[in-house]
């Protein structure tokens, strides 16, 4: 199994190709939308490329869930994710680091969870199961 550094390198190279960004722009903490300018269609492109690059299957809504909370008031209240919602996040996206997000869980900031590091951790977990 490749090391975390090797996975990170490959993930970075994938993002360079998919998003047409420079290698230097990519850092582990870079957010896909905010920092790297990814749009919704890019997420699908990234999934396709990661599958090819790592020889894995990424089921729909696993790496980039489209709607975790489905407008459920138990999960989101007044534009903020509730503690139950945060639990749901931990379950659905165990590979995401929500420590920063949970301090101020504004729903609009949820896209900041999608980072280069998050993808790396996801792939690492996926490869460990193979």
């Amino acid at each position: 199994m490749p090391s975390q550094a090797e996975i990170y390198q490959k993930v970075s190279a994938t993002l360079v190709d998919a998003l047409n960004v420079e290698q230097e722009e990519i850092k582990p903490t870079s957010t896909l939308q905010g920092d790297l300018g990814a749009e919704s269609i890019d997420f699908l492109d990234i999934v396709f490329r990661l599958e090819r690059e790592f020889g894995i299957k990424i089921p729909r809504n696993e790496l980039f869930p489209e709607s975790i909370f489905q407008g459920d008031p138990d999960f989101v209240q007044n534009g903020k994710v509730t503690s139950k919602g945060l639990d749901e996040l931990r379950t659905k996206m165990p590979f995401a680091d929500i420590s920063k997000f949970e301090k101020n869980p504004e729903l609009t900031a949820i896209s900041d969870l999608f980072t280069v590091e998050m993808i790396t951790k996801y792939i690492e977990g996926k490869l460990a199961k193979v």
Binding site: A18, F48, E51
Partner: protein
Amino acid sequence: MRWIWIDRFVKFESGKTARAVKNLSLAEDYFEQHLPGYPIMPACFILEGLAQTGGILVGEANDFKEKVVLAKITSARFQREAVAGETLIYETDLVTLRPEGASITGKVYAVPPGSASTDPNGTPIAEADIFFAHLDQSRSQQLFGDHNFVFSGELKHLLGLAKVVAQRTDSAT
């Protein structure tokens, strides 16, 4: 003007590869303005032809049941201009096909007027990676009904035309 940027298919392997040709005639409207005295095909039209070739390759792979829309041109490189009188050869290969969409990689070659061969030769004049999305079934049904507006007529007809030509060629030999 008809928005068809392929004249015919010359090769088609379902789910794998497709090759189409486009003859550039000086009579085409856009050459008058692009550019006056120097008729070259706008690069975006070259890409459109490549995307139509690849789009039909993707559509046919699912028997034209999906609404295939051009979602993103991941990369495009142009080596030189395409001039009136030349024939463009669009060579496309299917890279990924999934329920949500597909990606293709394509190359465009130009052959001089009078050339009989439609085999890609030499350096491509353009290359691109193109990404297609299948419009979400439920949502597109709300918006457009069952009618598949992408493969409604002429694009699909082109492929049928290619089959007719292939059959004629087969029976002639």
